[in-house]
Amino acid sequence: MFRIGLPVAAAALALTAYSTTPAAAAECDIIPIGAAISLTGKYATNGYHTQNGYEFAIKKIAENGGVQVGDKCYNFKVTYYDDESKGDRGATLAERLINQDGKQFMLGPYSSGLTKAIAPVTEKYGIPMVEAEGASRSLFNKGYKYLFAVLSTSEQYLASAITLAAEMAEKEGKDPKDIKVAVAVENDPFSLDIRAGVLEDAGRYGMQIVVDEKLPRDLSDMTAILTKVKLVKPDVLIVSGHSKGAATAVRQIGEQNVSVPMVAITHCEAADVVGNFPDFAENVLCSTQWAETLTYEDPIFGTAANYEQEFKQAYPEYKEKTVPYQTAQASAAVYVFKDAFERAGTLEKDAVRDAIAETKLSTFYGNIEFSNAGNNIAKPMVLRQIQNGKYKVVAPSEFASDELVWPRQ
């Protein structure tokens, strides 16, 4: 359509461009990027969240003058292939994107599993990949040089609850050493990562671990653990077992009237604990990568709240829901590429890789700075507490919107 009515379209574009942004996106060249993403299969829902996050960021960057490399301007264009939520398919598609389509840069797939399958391929060809959806810490002990992740790794998911408990103890004039911690996590790699992070942080404060149990995969009853919790009276109870663990824990903590000053769990939203157990869920702490109430901001997306609002305008299907953090971190990954290209001043992939490694960026999603292993070490995990049926950010304290209710009622 643009080709046929070129003069008219160009004139119209120029007009609108003048009224909105100074640099018209249409004048810019293209930087091609490849991505294998789950558009069908078990990860399809989150795959779409990720893709929408990428596309929204590309659009916002184009509207804000594109990517300035040297004195030329560029826009991103992503070629997506559907990996069907399967690792082997993801690896094949990554080969195809790099070898046949000649992509020099990659955005990550959805989930740790898919990232684990694709990272060896991008590593082999020395293709920089910024990923936003793979949190397993096993991704960052393989010595990968071309893999960068904007999100917090899984062992951080509930570790901030330990810091928070230590802060509370100090506020009350107690020694964090006297804090007793109970941990019950499912026996799977993701939850064991979480447990490792909690134990490490608790160890740093010298806290005592009084209960440390691994839940079997098909267990839907925690009464035995909770009875023990009632007897040893810990100050912090950590539970992670996907949505089943969240639902079972919240329900049975309520039924057994277990009064622990702090209860921190994962997957609150997926298990819809507020909808299912409105009374029992009160004051439970839930971990999340990002929340729209955080006070982070940047020049492209504005504040976190602004991001949410504009994203909902662009994608009306999210109107009734809160924008998932999967989308926000996908957008942040694209932003990392923009920043790195501009600092590198070239499209040469190794120069861009080095620029990504030196990223120091404040974004609406949080700060981004990569360790040598490629994970983001500048963004803390966010803890939200359920207060009056709403998720309120309570940690980290410098970005919190509300005070922590401690002890939990």
């Binding site: 078990k42 009464t223 035995a224 949505s243 639902a247 039924e255 057994q256 997926a270």
Partner: protein
Amino acid sequence: MDQILFNLGLLVEFPIVNLKIIIDGLLIGALFALAAYGLALVWGVMNVKNLAQGDFVIAGGYVAWYLAGLGLPPLLGVPIAFVVMWGIGWIAYKLVISRVIERDLFTSLLATFGLAIMMAQIMNLLFGSDTQTLDLGYQTLYFADGLIDVPIAKLIGVSMATALAVAVIIFMKRSRMGQAIRATAQDSRAARVMGIDTEKVYAFTFSLNSAICGAAGAIIVMVWVIQPFYGITYSVRSFVIVTAAGLGNLPGVIAAGLGIGAAEQYGSHIFGIGYQQAIAVLLLLIVLLVKLMLQRRKRQVLQ
């Protein structure tokens, strides 16, 4: 080891906890016993080892959950799940089970295993893979300084399970159909000679089993959580209980169910919750060993 000693110490230090563990165990065991009773019936009457037992339980749970979502009172879900699952059981019998009754052990095992996979995947497609539960909003009763807690929802669930079990027992003892089922279980050929339509008895038995499972599932969704792939938990427990109690031994099934519930709770308190299922299987091994030793001197014709 330290952990185990510490846990044992807790039991001594707070003796009341023993009571709490037993109560919890009995409440769980009652529901295991219900599902196991259905299995004992099918196993005994038709000699079909139904590996899809747990999936019938979960399906019943989804029926109750779905109806509650439409606004029906959750307790009504139990009788409705009983009826709906009766129908599904009958269909499953006509489609699959009736073709494998006369076949050998492995055919029926494979067929019901396939049925289990099919049911789990269909539920996954229909209801999604999220965990579901119903909260009745009832209070919890507390005793002994709050150390013992009995959620009223659990009490209601167990009462319904008991009522159902009693009803089934009376039905088996008194009704014509109950007599026919027992006769078929004893000797199906003789029963046929005596004019019992064994085909009808089989269909009835399997549907009844499915309905009992459905009711158990409807209770479970009110007390715990369900998910399309949790059926195997209940299948395993049912097999353990029936094997331990022996076929056609109804009081035995109930006692074994309650006992396994309590033993699991004790085991998971002492050794850690990760070993809960291991306790059930260990108990089965012990029972089988003891049985084997007792039967060594008994000579019997192979059937």
